[in-house]
Symmetry: C2
Subunit: 155 residues, 2 copies
């Protein structure tokens, strides 16, 4: 875990701008950090981190997901999934059980405790977004979504 205090990133506005879009580029960096900072601090207090949150986030939105599907969605190897997943199972933040028919796969679900931690961590992120949207109003929010969709679809 990085030190959660003090600027662990580019110190904003201290750099000369070489190109017109440098400001936007830095805003993306700070935006990502700004959204995740409090959530990461909360997760660290729980002894968890970003990969655990990603697992909890996906399982919350796809109850009874199999491990193979989870691996595919997260885009990591099963070996990389193994450690954080086992920690979450040990902590009883999620459960795994065999499917009724399809005994080959294990189905994952959040426990009540897991749901609570997922919700609180994601709430920190959503709260940052909520405040930002409130500050700029509906048209600004629509613009933000339009730009982000254009960027996301760039893949």
């Amino acid at each position: 875990m990085a030190k959660t205090s003090q600027a662990a990133g580019l110190h904003r506005a201290s750099l000369a701008k070489l190109h017109e879009l440098d400001t936007a580029l830095e805003l993306m960096y700070y935006g990502w950090r700004g959204m995740t900072l409090e959530a990461d601090a909360y997760l660290a207090k729980q002894g968890l981190s970003r990969p655990h949150h990603r697992i909890l986030y996906v399982v919350a939105r796809r109850p009874d997901i199999a491990i193979g599907a989870l691996i595919e969605i997260l885009g990591i190897s099963k070996q990389a999934l193994n450690r954080p997943l086992n920690l979450l199972l040990e902590r009883k933040l999620l459960t795994s059980k065999r499917a009724p028919e399809q005994h080959r796969s294990k189905l994952l679900r959040l426990t009540e405790a897991g749901r609570r931690i997922e919700r609180r961590a994601s709430d920190h992120e959503r709260q940052v977004l909520r405040e930002a949207f409130a500050r700029v109003g509906a048209s600004g929010a629509a613009g933000w979504i339009g730009v982000m969709e254009a960027i996301a679809d760039n893949n």
Copy 2:
């Protein structure tokens, strides 16, 4: 270096939405990835990665920066800076020299080759932004900037 091919992240739009702002939350994730994907691929081809780019980016905008100041801006320890920085010096992407008076600090500058790589990597990121802004027009772009500033100032 992660495999640069195939979805190394949440597979977009495949998850149920538990909260209204889940879409925005995921857009931030994909937006960050979308902006950095091609730049990271370019850097990987040069045998470099994100930390090297961050160093190049800052030095480009603060020529003659001392190592201590660079550490502060990057928000990492001098030991963590050491390896990527030495690689960049070995590759002659940047130079370090003692100050005329202040002999205590070393001053960093990009070489022509360093400037070129910094510019190309950052160009990939700016290009993604440029296209997204073009697609939504000036008012959308203004909205995006407003939201991102609100989020960035959340720190």
